[in-house]
C-alpha cells in the first residue's frame, strides 16, 4: 500500500490478466467425481421410472384414500390416549438414557474432543454399527436376553437413540467455534472443563434439536416397540391400518401430530432462548 497510488480505482489500472486464475474447475479429481456422480444419478433416475405426469394423474386416487380417513374415528379415543401415554413413557426413558450415553460417546467420537484417533475410529464404528444393525436384530438380541416387553423395547430405543444422537452430537461438537475452547486450552484447563465450558454451550442448540427429534422419533417408532410386544400407539396404528380402519388411523396420526408439534414448540422455545437470548 503506497501513499500515492491507491487513492482511487482509476489511478492504478490492473488488467484482467493480472488476476489470479479463477478456479471454477477445482481439480481433475473432483471434476471426475462430480461427473461420475451425475451419471450415476441420471442412470438411477431412469431406473426409478420417475414420471411426474403419472404422479399428477394419480392424485385423485390418493384423494380416495384420504376421503376414507375423514371424518377421523372417535370410537377408540380412550384406549388410544392411554396407548400414547404408554408410548411416551417408554420413549422418554429410552431417549433420556440414550441421550446421556450419546453425549459421552459423542465426546469420544468428535475429532476435536477425542482422546486419541483410535478411540475416534472405534467409537464412530460403534455408533455406525448401532445404526446399521436393523431394529429387528436388536429386538431379537434384547428379547433373548431380557424377554418380551417394555424393557426390551426401551433397550432398543436406547440403541436407536445412540445410533442417531451419537452421530449428530459428535458432529455438533465438531462444528462449534474453536475460539473459546482454544482460550481454555491456553490457560491449562482440563479436557473435561474445556468440553463442558468451551464446546457444550456452543453446541447446545444442536444438542437440544437432536435430542428432542430423537424423542419424537421414539414416539413415532411403532416398529421397534411392536416387535417386542411392548404395545403403545404404534401397535394401535398398525392394527388400524391392517384392518382398513383408515378413519381410526387418521385419529392416531392427529394425536401423534399434536405431540410432535408440542415437542417442537418446546424445542423451538428453548433454542430460541439460547440462540437469541430472547
Amino acid at each position: 500500500m503506497s501513499e500515492t497510488t491507491n487513492l482511487s480505482c482509476e489511478k492504478n489500472p490492473l488488467s484482467p490478466s493480472d488476476l489470479p486464475t479463477r478456479q471454477l474447475i477445482p481439480s481433475l479429481v473432483s471434476t471426475f467425481c462430480f461427473v461420475g456422480f451425475l451419471a450415476f444419478f441420471l442412470w438411477s433416475l431412469t431406473k426409478a421410472e420417475f414420471s411426474l405426469t403419472e404422479l399428477w394423474q394419480g392424485l385423485p386416487n390418493m384423494g380416495v384414500i384420504v376421503s376414507e380417513m375423514v371424518p377421523p374415528a372417535t370410537d377408540r379415543i380412550e384406549p388410544m390416549a392411554s396407548a400414547i401415554l404408554v408410548t411416551l413413557q417408554m420413549a422418554v426413558v429410552g431417549t433420556v438414557i440414550g441421550v446421556i450415553l450419546s453425549l459421552f460417546i459423542a465426546i469420544l467420537a468428535a475429532r476435536n474432543t477425542t482422546p486419541h484417533p483410535l478411540v475416534y475410529q472405534i467409537t464412530r464404528g460403534i455408533i455406525n454399527f448401532f445404526r446399521t444393525v436393523p431394529d429387528l436384530a436388536w429386538a431379537l438380541f434384547f428379547v433373548a436376553s431380557v424377554g418380551l416387553g417394555p424393557f426390551a423395547g426401551t433397550l432398543t430405543l436406547i440403541v436407536d437413540t445412540i445410533g442417531f444422537c451419537g452421530r449428530f452430537f459428535a458432529e455438533a461438537l465438531e462444528e462449534v467455534d474453536p475460539g473459546p475452547s482454544e482460550a481454555l486450552n491456553a490457560m491449562g484447563a482440563s479436557s473435561l472443563d474445556r468440553i463442558a465450558v468451551g464446546l457444550i454451550p456452543g453446541a447446545t442448540p444442536s444438542l437440544i434439536n437432536s435430542s428432542l427429534f430423537s424423542l419424537e422419533k421414539s414416539v413415532r417408532s411403532s416398529v421397534v416397540l411392536g416387535l417386542v410386544g411392548a404395545g403403545g400407539i404404534g401397535a394401535e396404528l398398525a392394527v388400524s391400518m391392517e384392518m382398513f380402519r383408515y378413519d381410526q388411523a387418521a385419529t392416531i396420526i392427529i394425536l401423534i401430530f399434536a405431540l410432535v408439534l408440542a415437542v417442537e414448540q418446546l424445542s423451538s422455545r428453548i433454542r430460541n432462548r439460547i440462540i437469541n437470548n430472547r
Partner: protein, 271 residues
Amino acid sequence: ETVKLAVTDLVGLEELQREFGAFVNVLEEKSGYDIEFLPVTNRTAAVEALRFKKVDFVLTGPAEYVVIKKRTDADIVVGFSRPDYFAVIITMADQGYQTPRDLAGHSVAFGSVGSTSKHLGPMQALADYGVAPTTEIKAIHTKMPVAWEALKRGDVAAVGMNHLKFLSFRDKEQQNKGMEPGAFRVIARGPDLPNDILMAGKHVDQKIVAKMKSVFTDHSQALVQAILTGEDNQKYSGMKFITAVKDTDYNYVRAMYATVGYPEYAEFIGD
C-alpha cells in the same frame, strides 16, 4: 404365579393385538394364574422368546409352529380351529386371468414373508396348480392394504391372501362405494390350513401346561367370545379351541417351506 403368553401373526385377529383385556380377564379367572399377555408384531421375536425361555406360551400360526418345533422343542397345548381358514389367489375379473397358469410371468403380491395364510399358503396353492412360485411368477411382498390397491390398479396380476381377509376387503369396497364384489375373481384356493396353535415352551412346568390346556378346552366358548369383543371381529365367529392336534397335521406346512425355497424347515420330524 405369572404366566407369560405371547400372541403373534394371527390373521384376522389383529384386534387381539390391541384389545386383549377381556380375553386376559377370562383366562386369568378360569386358570387362576396372573397372565402377562404380549402381542408381538413379529414372529421371529416370538419364536426367539420361546427358545430363550423368555415366554411360556405362544399363540401363533402354523408356519411359526413348524419353525419353533425345528428350532426348539415345544409342546402343543391346544389347536385353534377357525372356519374358512384357507388361502386364495385373487385377480380382477376383467383382466382375463382365468387359471393360475395365466399368472406365469406376471407379478403377484403376497403378505409378509413367512406368514402362513398370506405367503406360504397362497404360494403352495399356486404350486398345487403347477405354477412354480419362486421362478415362474414375480413375487412381491407387501402389506395387504398396499397389495389391494396395487391389484385394483393392475400393478399386480393377482394377490395371494387369506380368504377371510379377502372377504373383509370386498365388504369395505362395497361400503365405500368402490368396486362391486363381482369385480374380483378367485382363481385358486388351497385346502383349509392347519390350525393356529397354542404352544408351551419345554421349560414350562407340566402342571401349568395341563392347567392351561384344560382352561382352553373347557372354556373355549368364553375365550372366543372375549376375543371377539371388537365389533370388527364378529365375522370370525365360529372359532373353537380343540385338543386333538398332532404334529403331522403340519406336514402340509412343511411342504410349503420347501415350495418357497426354504427347505431347511421342510424336514418332517418323526410322528
